[in-house]
């Protein structure tokens, strides 16, 4: 277990964590402020990836495609908010889960009809496709660094938006006491629409960033949405800071678990037993963390102050 491998795996973990943050931040915004459970967040992640893939082929430029796909995904989010989410705000969580789960099926069937079952790979420009040598001779795929950069930029932008703008002030106020905000004459419907669209764009961005690594495919959101829920539960539902810390934590634990757990197990058991146990345990690791957090701190690591 040498130092350079540890550094690479840490970077990989941070990269995964930032992707998780992009998905989880939208989820926690919508859940925390609108009190709306949005499983269809996974579908928006997929829609973002597919739109970006199509635009990449149409325009021949991945970066341009991302810049165009972001507002388009936000518009899809707006339409979902208007047509499906809004009538459900006053209903219970179970109704919302059922409706948004149905929405996933609708989106996936639509994607199947539009883009086919095969999925689309997204070609990267040469400048992003190679490797970058970091100080100390560590080589890492350039695009992984791009994801880290984009994730940090999005996190910074969100932090600024929530803490230093009027819109952010309203978002925080809405999260604390929705009735009071609307009593003060704020157009809460517009605020909700904006938050929903912002969440959609963030999920879409995550999808666009992962597509060149894997591909845009139907059902790509399933695994990440589950992990994103783990993140917001660990972080504290509704808390942006919690989502960030928990996402990085989960990303690191998952990646480092996959990397080193078999070596650790080999210290205490036969190498064959370690090889069999390691994949199972590393797949469970984040859920074990979640269970521990729920047992000892059910409100999450950073619960929002007033609910």
């Amino acid at each position: 277990m040498d130092a350079s491998l540890l550094i690479i795996q840490t970077l990989n973990g941070v990269q995964l964590g930032l992707l998780l943050f992009l998905v989880a931040s939208g989820l926690t915004l919508v859940f925390g402020i609108l009190d709306f459970v949005n499983l269809a967040h996974a579908a928006l992640y997929m829609v973002g990836a597919f739109i970006c893939a199509s635009l990449t082929y149409a325009l021949g430029n991945f970066v341009l495609a991302v810049l165009l796909a972001l507002p388009l995904t936000a518009v899809v989010g707006l339409v979902v908010e208007r047509t499906v989410a809004r009538p459900l705000y006053s209903r219970g969580h179970l109704d919302q889960v059922l409706a948004t789960f149905g929405l996933i099926l609708v989106f996936e069937t639509l994607a199947h009809m539009i883009w086919g079952p095969a999925g689309m790979s997204v070609p990267l420009p040469d400048s992003l496709n190679g490797q970058t040598t970091l100080p100390g001779g560590i080589q890492i795929p350039t695009f992984r660094l791009v994801i880290i950069g984009a994730g940090l930029a999005a996190a910074g932008g969100l932090f600024w938006l929530v803490n230093y703008t009027r819109l952010g002030m309203l978002i925080r106020a809405g999260a604390s006491n929705r009735t009071m905000v609307s009593a003060l004459g704020i157009n809460i419907q517009l605020l909700f629409s904006l938050v929903f669209a912002l969440g959609a764009a963030l999920a879409g961005l995550a999808g666009m960033l992962i597509a060149p690594i894997t591909e845009a495919s139907i059902g790509m959101g399933h695994s990440i949405i589950i992990t994103a829920f783990v993140v917001i539960i660990v972080g504290g539902i509704g808390s942006m800071k919690g989502a960030f810390v928990a996402a990085i934590l989960i990303g690191l634990i998952d990646t480092l678990g996959r990397s080193f757990i078999d070596d650790l197990f080999k210290l205490v058991m036969s190498s064959e037993a370690a090889e069999n146990a390691a994949p199972a345990i590393s797949a469970m690791l984040i859920y074990i963390i979640m269970a521990a957090v729920l047992a000892f701190r059910p409100q999450g690591l950073f619960p929002p102050k007033v609910r």
């Binding site: 350079s4 491998l5 795996q9 070609p123 795929p141 690594i213 591909e215 059902g219 399933h222 996959r258």
Partner: protein, 397 residues
């Protein structure tokens, strides 16, 4: 004129009533594959091939009409079992075939066999069903999972690759593949990763690839079927491993992933090596007809999944014909299947005692065809008439 027309209609009606046999027998074939989730790309290819086979047969085996009922396994054992149950109990099919995934086949096995149906795998080849769980009514038009990686292990020995890193998904076939390559490969295994699989499979291999590179192995052996193969190849390329860690794969670089890799401009995959019992360039009449017509109809090269599905329908048709179309004569149908008396696209093969094919395995290389499309061609024959390692555990003879 009016009378003439009426007379003609009457004559036609009388003719068709009098001449046709009571009712033409229909043989029903249930085809279980993945038609949803990203793995639907495989199921789609298999469905296309099965339909092409039916078309080539003119919809008939002898005088018996062929009906194929497709069912979705949703990439999950429990859904696959339900689909099989429905085919067996509700549709009352005569044959159940298809099956991409070993864990789905293992889960569905009892439903088909206990229902008295013939079960013919067109892809999955779990070790259990070649050995202890073999059955007189279970056949395969593919291989036992271990065989293809065993051929790859032999290739690695021949090419003098001294150490190896192994990656595969963590499910029944993934474990068989790893066992297969370990059985024949004589060099040192530097490390091994089994990654999460299923509808929410792990597709980001950053941690595993970093480990593989750090292990200092001379080559990497992988098994990533379907969409995961393209995802793996892309990340392998993005990590710049093509020069440091040559890729040896089974069921990963195929007619489904190559067009995507070409779209993404991944030149690194060119020349990479893979083993298989079939290739689009195999020189026999049945294969040429299959590949040409498949390309003409669907616009892509058929994958090995397609080739095996085509063979499965052809095998079933040959058995029905051998039994004279009598769908109640199970013994004659079984004997017909066992004879494997049809023109397989892989060339001649025969069934072993466990009803698994005894066949040749080839080394293939990724090349561009005359139109510039990426495909594979045969480099050499690795095994001739190779039988799987579990045949001895099977009590059939």
């Amino acid at each position: 004129m009016k009378y003439l027309a009426q007379a003609a209609v009457a004559a036609t009606l009388a003719g068709s009533m009098g001449l046709q046999p009571a009712l033409a027998d229909t043989a029903k074939i249930g085809f279980v594959t993945t038609l949803t989730t990203p793995a639907a790309v495989i199921g789609n290819d298999m469905k296309n091939a099965a339909e092409l086979a039916r078309e080539h047969l003119g919809g008939k085996a002898g005088d018996t009409d062929l009906e194929i009922i497709f069912a979705d396994d949703g990439f999950a054992p429990e859904t696959g079992k339900q689909a099989t149950d429905k085919l067996v109990k509700q549709d009352d099919v005569d044959f159940v075939t298809g099956f991409i995934w070993s864990h789905v086949l293992l889960a569905s096995r009892k439903s088909a066999l206990d229902g008295g149906k013939f079960l013919i795998s067109a892809n999955a080849g779990p070790s259990q069903m070649a050995g202890k769980l073999c059955d007189e009514n279970y056949f395969s038009t593919s291989w036992q999972n271990d065989q293809t990686p065993m051929a790859m292990g032999e290739v690695l020995n021949q090419q003098g690759v001294k150490s190896l890193y192994i990656m595969a998904p963590n499910y029944a076939a993934g474990k068989d593949m790893v066992e297969g390559v370990e059985r024949t490969y004589k060099g040192e295994i530097k490390g091994k990763d089994l990654t999460k699989w299923g509808a929410d499979a792990q597709l980001d291999f950053s941690a595993e690839l970093a480990k593989a590179e750090a292990s200092g192995a001379e080559g990497i052996f992988v098994f990533y079927p379907g969409g995961a193969g393209a995802a793996f190849a892309k990340q392998y390329d993005q990590a710049g491993l093509a020069d440091k860690l040559p890729l040896y794969s089974v069921f990963t670089v195929d007619a489904l992933s190559l067009p995507k890799l070409q779209d993404a401009g991944l030149g690194a995959i060119m020349g990479s090596r893979t083993t298989q019992q079939w290739d689009p360039t195999l020189d026999n009449a049945a294969n040429k007809k299959f590949v040409d017509d498949f390309k003409a109809k669907y616009g892509t090269y058929p994958s090995f999944y397609a080739a095996q599905s085509y063979d499965a329908i052809m095998l079933i048709a040959s058995a029905i014909e051998a039994a004279g179309g009598n769908m109640d004569d199970t013994d004659a149908l079984r004997a017909g299947l066992k004879a494997a008396d049809f023109d397989s696209v892989r060339g001649d093969f025969k069934f072993g005692n466990n009803n698994m094919p005894i066949q040749d395995f080839y080394l293939r290389e990724v090349v561009a065809d005359d139109d510039g499309k990426w495909t594979t061609k045969v480099v050499s024959t690795v095994f001739e008439d190779h039988q799987d390692s579990y045949a001895a555990e099977c009590k059939l003879n």
